[in-house]
């Protein structure tokens, strides 16, 4: 490692990790064939099998509360000891009024806490985790809660409508000796790349179509993963699992191959074919499925991507605590198996796409 590389990667003075994690995925599923039926006469290939859709009474606040309660159940800590509740999302229910204050109140963390909402397209959740690593690693706080959650938007008929799903995950950062997975180091790669955006007051996002691939998703993810592994002296073969941001099935498969990861390393965390692209929750809910399958000693590489654009990479080392944590809250697979199929009309009603 050169001195320059030491400065690029981030490692807190006090070692920290995830002391708890929790997923949430709503029960409704829209098969991608339904979108093709409505907009392409059924004659179109589909990028995933189906996506998760939030019910009429669900939004980023309610979904974050359930994921946070699952994370607390695994952490086995007093919620009042959490000093930050940070929620990353593209679908905050209010434009002005924090999602995080409702979540903090509902889990019993108020009033002695910071609370804020984060925004960086699909990496707002890992951005919150990076900040929580610093907040706990500096000793300013013992515990911090970081959430990535979305009820993703896609304009009717847009290619995004096949994949834009609902779900996400919550993580409690805290001291390494209480953690079920310790953070070995993290890295962030950021440039000004306008591949996908939503202007203020617009309901649906716009995107640069093929521009979202090579200069955006692939460049940022390969850069952040390679920089982190080089700095830590690790190689793809050193990791049991790898989780990438997953906007569709092909992108994470291709970037895994480019970086030298195998299908087996990717498979456990590749949820997009069954729940869709859950934007700020995408890589993070994939990681919950990986943690559900992890054993002590496993190593995990997490690499998010957010349009606009940036990528956060984190190297995690799983500890003995993982075993006792598995049964303390529902597994991600339990939520995926809770499946009620809906048609496009019901989906249009649930997502407020009907105007009267």
């Amino acid at each position: 490692m050169t001195e320059e590389r030491d400065q690029k990667i981030m490692q807190p003075k006090n070692p920290v990790g995830f002391v708890g994690y929790g997923a949430y995925i709503p029960r409704y599923r829209l098969p991608a064939t339904e979108v093709a039926r409505i907009w392409k006469g059924g004659a179109a290939g589909t990028p995933i099998d189906e996506k998760a859709v939030a019910g009429l009474d669900e939004d980023v606040i309610t979904m974050s509360i359930e994921a946070a309660r699952n994370a607390l159940a695994r952490a086995q800590i007093n919620p009042a000891d959490i000093r930050a509740v940070w929620v990353g999302s593209e679908s905050h229910p209010y434009s002005v009024k924090p999602t995080s204050t409702v979540v903090a109140e509902a889990i019993g963390d108020t009033p002695h806490t910071l609370a804020a909402d984060w925004e960086f397209a699909c990496k707002a959740g890992t951005e919150a985790i990076q900040a929580a690593i610093g907040f706990t690693g500096s000793g300013m706080a013992r515990y911090a809660l970081a959430i990535g959650m979305d009820t993703a938007q896609g304009r009717p008929g847009d290619p995004l409508e096949y994949t834009a799903g609902a779900g996400g995950a919550a993580y409690i950062l805290g001291p390494a000796d209480e953690s079920l997975a310790v953070v070995e180091g993290s890295y962030s790669y950021t440039t000004d790349t306008p591949d996908f955006w939503r202007r203020a007051d617009e309901k649906y996002p716009s995107h640069g179509e093929r521009f979202t691939g090579e200069p955006a998703y692939f460049h940022h993810i390969t850069s952040s993963a390679q920089e982190l592994m080089e700095a830590l002296g690790t190689k793809p073969v050193d990791y049991t699992f790898v989780v990438f941001h997953q906007p569709n099935t092909k992108f994470p498969q291709r970037v895994a191959k480019t970086l030298g990861f195998t299908h087996e390393q990717l498979e456990a965390g590749l949820l997009v074919p069954r729940i869709g692209n859950v934007y700020a929750g995408s890589a993070l809910v994939g990681l919950t499925a990986v943690l559900d399958a992890s054993k002590p000693g496993d190593r995990i590489l997490l690499v998010s991507y957010g349009s606009g654009a940036g990528s956060d990479a984190m190297s995690l080392h799983v500890t003995e605590r993982i075993l006792e944590s598995h049964e303390l809250a529902p597994r991600t697979e339990d939520y995926i198996n809770r499946r009620t199929e809906i048609d496009y009309a019901t989906y249009a009603r649930f997502r407020g796409k009907l105007s009267q």
Binding site: D57, I61, I65, E66, E105, A106, P330, D334
Partner: protein, 133 residues
């Protein structure tokens, strides 16, 4: 309801926080500061587990103002495992599915909103217990 009324009862609504009587140990929901069992003062907070079973239910097809968008939906009396009977909407459930005695668990969901420009109201509902492997 006014904003202040929603704000005052947020603890009990978001997370099913009631009271426990220090004299006879009765669990109280909603909190009312006087124990309905023994009549003494009871102000100690108590966090309910959220688990219970359906005591009775009815399905609404003609919903009152403010709830039309969610119809049809089912409202149930839920007997909490700690004793109190609470009235709440059932969620994540089809209208033909509810049964008396069905085990349910509390979740925090959107109850409604004060119009397009008003605040969003969140609170407890109950759903069938999530099946875990």
């Amino acid at each position: 309801m006014e904003i202040t009324s929603h704000w005052r009862i947020k603890k009990q609504r978001y997370s099913l926080v009631g009271e426990e009587c220090p004299h006879c140990s009765a669990k109280i929901f909603p909190p009312r500061d006087i124990c309905p069992e023994c009549g003494d003062e009871a102000k100690d907070h108590y966090q309910f587990s959220g688990r219970g079973e359906v005591y009775s239910y009815t399905t609404l097809y003609n919903a009152p103002a403010g709830y039309e968008e969610q119809a049809p939906y089912t409202v149930a009396m839920v007997q909490l495992e700690e004793g109190p009977l609470v009235t709440a909407q059932l969620t994540d459930i089809d209208v033909k599915e509810p049964e008396v005695g069905m085990p349910v668990e509390m979740v925090t969901r959107k109850l409604g909103s004060e119009g397009d420009r008003g605040i969003l109201i969140y609170g407890y509902k109950f759903r069938p217990v999530l099946e875990t492997a």
